[in-house]
Amino acid sequence: MEIVDKLLNHSRLALSKAITAVENEYDDAVKIMTEIYPHTGNAYVIGITGPPGAGKSTLTDKLAKEYRKRGKTVGIVAIDPTSPYSGGAILGDRIRMMDLMADEGIFVRSMATRGSLGGLSQKAGDAVKLMDAYGMDVIIIETVGVGQSEVDIVKTADTTMVVVIPGMGDDIQAIKAGILEIGDLFTINKADREGTDKLNIEIEMMLELNPEHVGWRPPINRTIASKGEGIEAVVDSIEAHKAYLIDSGKLNDIRKKRIKNEVEAMLNDRVNRYIDKEVIQTQEFDDLVVKMQSREIEPYSVVDDIVGKVLK
């Protein structure tokens, strides 16, 4: 395909158009991804998450610059939520990254969640693959750490960084949020604010309670992203985690698991669409609903019948 050839020859326009094809599910999207797949698997993927206002975009901007200093090219997928009311979105991550626009070694793509059930992680994952095939060394996925689909996205990364800031409530908030468990490293941003030491201790204590961290203890870095302070140490920590994953053989496991999850999601998606089209959106199904409502039949055997037909 022409667009794939152009993308592999470093056409930024082709990369952008290919991501659009995937995002909007254009007819050629599957063909693009099929042709691109052999060229993927080379980039190192970093997921960044945390609460709104933690400074993820600013930090991403600074990390990208630090990686550029170290000679790496950087792709960024910045995800912001779609309004459930209008279906529109304001994608504001790029505002922190505008001075990256002059650098050919960086490509930033904004994506809206569009309320898609699980579909987002697949689309973001495809955007990562396209940037990977284009030749980006490092790819950063940045998203607000609320909601399952957002967490799913960052979980697909090789290294996941959780960004927190002081003054967001007591330690119970941190525990119930459920995003702290997924961090391979922690960054306390806005670390010139009051409460930084306390937050540091709380994260330490939480890590003590987590038995999963055998072999790798998530480091806690402090940054003031707006001033560019502490950024080198964060990149050093990411690189240390990468080295750990490679040496321990875990990078292989993570990537195997990622493929498994991706294919599972693709299968689920395909089956869901099939059921929606062939079962749910039919007159026959509407008739069944009426019968269930009047209690002529019950849903359990209806489901059995349908599954029997679909999975024949």
Binding site: S86, R94, I95, M98
Partner: protein, 129 residues
């Protein structure tokens, strides 16, 4: 599921972003995906952001009087980057006398103070497939 994507940007040395933010909000409420890029940008930054996000619309806001230079420059750079189908619209305190020149330079529509935001939404819906 193809949503219309609009880049809202303020080129040049002008920090007055109230209008751009009101427009960004109105476009979001109309169901568009709005990439808000902020103030004091060069035409190059705007064109590159438009390329990377593959937007259908670039909405420029400018109140400093430099629109005759900066708006056409954005159009020119978009074309240079191969973005030939992007709808470029502009707004701000722009004298009526300048509007024909801007339109000739490729700015599809110019919205001056007092324009209801619904007019901008209509313009986008009418011009983007």
């Amino acid at each position: 599921m193809a949503n219309i994507k609009v880049l809202v940007a303020k080129p040049g040395l002008d920090g007055h972003d109230r209008g751009a933010k009101v427009v960004a909000r109105a476009l979001r409420d109309a169901g568009f995906e709005v990439i808000y890029t902020g103030i004091r940008l060069t035409p190059e930054q705007i064109a590159e952001a438009a390329l990377q996000d593959d937007v259908q619309v670039v909405a420029l806001s400018l109140l400093s009087g430099a629109h005759n230079t900066l708006f056409p420059k954005v159009v020119e750079l978009l074309k240079e980057k191969g973005l030939n189908d992007v709808l470029v619209i502009g707004g701000g305190v722009i004298p009526d006398a300048d509007i024909p020149g801007l339109k000739a330079a490729g700015i599809a529509e110019v919205f001056t103070p007092g324009t209801p935001t619904s007019k901008i939404v209509e313009c986008i819906n009418a011009n983007v497939k």
